[in-house]
């Protein structure tokens, strides 16, 4: 009987044992090549952003500089940071982290996987005013870039309870992603209440982490978009020497050439695909929109806290909104100014002084590629701050963090005293 049973179940048991040993073993199962790292830096793939191994491997080289942002990174045009870095063989390679729908909360949690690589480093962070809507980060978009690996790592590294921890745990519990795994949800509830996670939870998380890390190690380099070809093609159009005046002329020329089918200076393809059919609907559509009251301000504070505790030095970019378009949709300029003041206050009052504020450049022709994304001249303008920031020695920053930015009062505050 035993022999027969073994013939039936033996192979299954053996396979199961092997698989379990493999998946839960504490060994690293894959090695990322330089080629993979280079590809990942411009791939903008969600699996790179939400995973660990590729970011960890790339960011362990000083060459790669993390660029945090959102959908603007996918607009590869002549002055895009990755294009300029390729063409002019800069000492740094932007490692682009961001896609449609990535906001502060996503960045806070995805950073957890590479904290030791980010320590004492420089970074660039592109803020989008459009994140700061009343409802804050979209739940589905957050879920798209979330992996339980992020929350598990975060939970395992909590020590004494802080306002940051409690706020982040509560915020994650608001998302379906935070409730998807029962143990993680219970652990988050404890942290939200200012308690330590239990021993049992810790053990569970350690093994869960190993499983997820192995999945990440084995599979996340399989699905990456290849954007390097596109970048090389665009870089070819640039003059051999970096001359601001020449580049600006080229930017104007390219802008003009590519915005011929509409009166808003919007990239032809974007206009046809996204706006043309609905253009009428947009008239005065954004009249009552506000970017001044939002939970995003506190989510953003999480990111700032993380930067401060890792002693990072960060250049913040605040892009404008295409003014020709916003005049049409009725988006309030006063409100945009209010937003600018509020976000600058949050940054500067805590010691984040490297700000490239482009918010008043919405009326410069060909500054934006479309309605809200930096384009030809916009990226060039940003480069005037990014390049010196990254290549020249910077003063060590001194941060004075303030937990009032986690309060709903701050989220709702409308105006800042000058």
């Amino acid at each position: 009987m035993a022999k027969k049973l073994f013939l039936i179940f033996g192979p299954v048991l053996l396979a199961a044992l092997l698989l379990i040993a493999l998946l839960f073993s504490p060994f690293k199962m894959n090695h990322m090549s330089t080629k993979t790292e280079d590809k990942a830096a411009v791939a903008l793939s969600p699996n790179v952003l939400k995973g660990q191994i590729i970011k960890e491997s790339a960011l362990s080289h000083k060459q790669f500089v993390p660029f945090f942002g959102s959908s603007e990174f996918s607009r590869f045009d002549m002055a895009h940071p990755s294009v300029l870095a390729t063409k002019y063989q800069r000492r740094y390679t932007p490692f682009l982290m961001g896609g449609p729908g990535t906001q502060s909360l996503t960045h806070y949690f995805q950073m957890q996987l590479v904290t030791s690589q980010l320590k004492n480093r420089k970074a660039v962070f592109v803020i989008s005013p459009q994140w700061f809507v009343k409802k804050g980060a979209r739940k589905d978009a957050f879920g798209f870039y979330y992996s339980p690996m992020q929350s598990a790592t975060w939970l395992l590294s909590r020590k004494a309870s802080s306002a940051e921890d409690r706020y982040a745990a509560k915020r994650l519990l608001n998302m379906p992603s935070g409730k998807a795994n029962h143990t993680i949800m219970m652990a988050l509830k404890r942290v939200a209440d200012g308690k330590q996670i239990t021993k049992h939870e810790r053990t569970y998380l350690v093994y869960e982490m190993r499983l997820l890390q192995h999945e990440d190690q084995l599979f996340s380099d399989l699905k990456m978009k290849n954007n390097q070809g596109k970048i090389d093609r665009i870089a070819k159009q640039l003059p051999d020497h970096y001359q601001l005046k020449d580049l600006d002329q080229l930017a104007v020329a390219q802008g003009k050439q590519n915005t011929t089918n509409n009166r808003f200076d919007i990239y032809n393809q974007f206009y046809v695909r996204r706006l043309h059919d609905k253009a009428k609907k947009f008239k005065n559509f954004e009249q009552n929109w506000s970017y001044v009251q939002s939970p995003e301000f506190s989510d953003f504070e999480l990111v700032l806290n993380q930067f401060a505790s890792l002693n990072m030095n960060v250049e913040f970019i605040i892009p404008p909104v295409n003014q020709k378009w916003s005049a049409y949709t009725g988006l309030s300029q006063t409100m945009l100014k209010e937003f600018d003041r509020k976000i600058r206050y949050q940054l500067q009052s805590q010691g984040f002084n490297n700000i490239c504020d482009l918010s008043d450049k919405g009326n410069v022709p060909y500054f934006m590629q479309d309605t809200i994304h930096l384009g030809w001249r916009g990226w060039l303008a940003a480069d005037q701050s990014i390049d010196p920031f990254l290549t020249k020695k910077q003063k060590a920053p001194h941060y004075q963090m303030n937990s009032k930015f986690y309060s709903t009062a701050w989220q709702h505050q409308i105006s800042i005293k000058k």
Partner: protein, 399 residues
């Protein structure tokens, strides 16, 4: 609290394996512990219908009490008497909960009935079948306690295959011989692993990786497009591998418990015609419809001489039978059209086969025509599945 949809993840299979262990050991030693089987049935019901799904759980309990009492009363009555109207009334009472559950979303704009739960259809099929066999006089020794076991047999509770009372009872009362049980274990394990390939690999590729993309492109095209054709085939493949995979899990688990639950799919896309298709696709459902709706209606029409020719009787019944199946899937235009189309196809198929028989030698029959017939059947089925998917409805709304 822990809560699962049956066979949804590795953890479920882990728990399942542990729970089955005592049963396997028992049967190997020539014993069946019915009390333990009941216990794990209850345990898995709690896992499926407890915690966050407790409203479904309560609906299930209420439903079970109601159906068991109903069938019990009818079988007791049937021992002494056999009036048609009582039989009809009992069948109506038995299907009323299902009818309410199916009608509610159509009447109340997509709301779900509170008396509904995952698998109500399959339990109703079992109950109606028991009533009908009791009416026929073939089911004599009814036991309410056993009937309850039959209804809640956990491997098949949520989506079948639909077993029959007397067949199930033979297996349930009997301990398979060791030699036979080894075969069952082997087949069961094979089924479960085949299920993994179907549901977690193939259905994943078709349903999770490809389908959403194709649907997106088809929606963007606003009308007929190659993407829509892609949606049709990819959805059909997804539907098959998902459901067939699930059925394999249910059958495999049943085998471990020494119950030979009938198979549900037998290479359906190999069918040469639509009739053969229904003998290979969702077989336990189609046989249930054949035995308890189609055959009953045919007998009724013949007995009362409603139609002159037997051909007309068969044709009308095909259409009624498949339309009811359409309604059972849900009261929406696309499910009902799906049913009617299959009814019409069965009529056309019968007509064609008769025509071919009536003109021997005139219509060629060879390897090529067989491949062609399979091709036509496959494409027809995929087209009806596109209807069935409701995606055309989504496209209409999006317009």
């Amino acid at each position: 609290m822990l809560s699962f949809t049956p066979y949804e993840n590795p953890m479920y299979f882990g728990i399942l394996g542990l729970a089955l262990l005592p049963i396997v050991i028992g049967i190997l030693c020539g014993k069946r512990f019915h009390w333990y089987e009941t216990l794990i049935s209850v345990f898995f019901l709690v896992l499926t219908f407890g915690g966050p799904k407790i409203t479904q759980g309560l609906a299930l309990i209420t439903y079970l009490v109601y159906e068991v009492l109903l069938v019990w009363v009818y079988t007791s009555y049937r021992k002494k008497n056999n009036q048609t109207w009582i039989f009809v009334a009992t069948v109506i009472l038995a299907i009323i909960p299902l009818v309410i559950v199916k009608l509610t979303p159509a009447i109340q704009e997509g709301k779900q009935a509170i008396i509904g739960f995952l698998g109500i259809s399959y339990l109703t099929f079992k109950a109606v079948q028991t009533i009908m066999e009791s009416r026929d006089g073939v089911l004599k020794d009814f036991s309410p306690w056993f009937f309850l076991q039959f209804l809640v047999f956990f491997p098949t509770i949520s989506s079948g295959p639909i077993d029959r009372y007397r067949r199930f009872k033979r297996d349930y009362d009997h301990v398979p011989k060791q030699e036979k049980y080894f075969q069952l274990l082997q087949k069961g394990l094979h089924n479960i692993f085949m299920g993994f390939v179907y549901k977690y690999m193939l259905a994943y590729v078709f349903g999770t990786m490809w389908l959403p993309k194709l649907e997106h492109y088809a929606l963007m095209a606003h009308g007929l497009s190659w993407s829509l054709v892609g949606v049709m085939y990819v959805y059909s493949m997804y539907l098959f591998f998902d459901f067939a995979g699930y059925s394999l899990f249910a059958i495999g688990t049943s085998y471990f418990m020494g119950i030979e639950t009938p198979i549900n799919f037998n290479a359906p896309f190999k069918s040469h015609n639509i009739k053969e298709f229904w003998n290979r696709w969702h077989m336990t459902l189609s046989f249930w419809f054949r035995d308890y709706i189609y055959m009953r209606l045919v007998f009724f029409f013949m007995k009362h001489k409603v139609f002159k020719s037997p051909k007309t009787t068969a044709n009308v019944t095909y259409i009624i039978n498949m339309t009811i199946m359409g309604f059972w899937h849900g009261v929406t235009w696309y499910y009902i059209t799906y049913g009617i189309l299959h009814g019409v196809a069965l009529v056309v198929n019968d007509w064609w086969l008769r025509y071919k028989k009536g003109h021997p030698g005139k219509i060629p029959h060879n390897k090529f025509t067989e491949v062609f017939a399979t091709f036509v059947t496959f494409n027809f089925v995929c087209f009806t599945f596109l209807l069935f998917s409701g995606f055309l409805n989504t496209m209409l709304i999006a317009k």
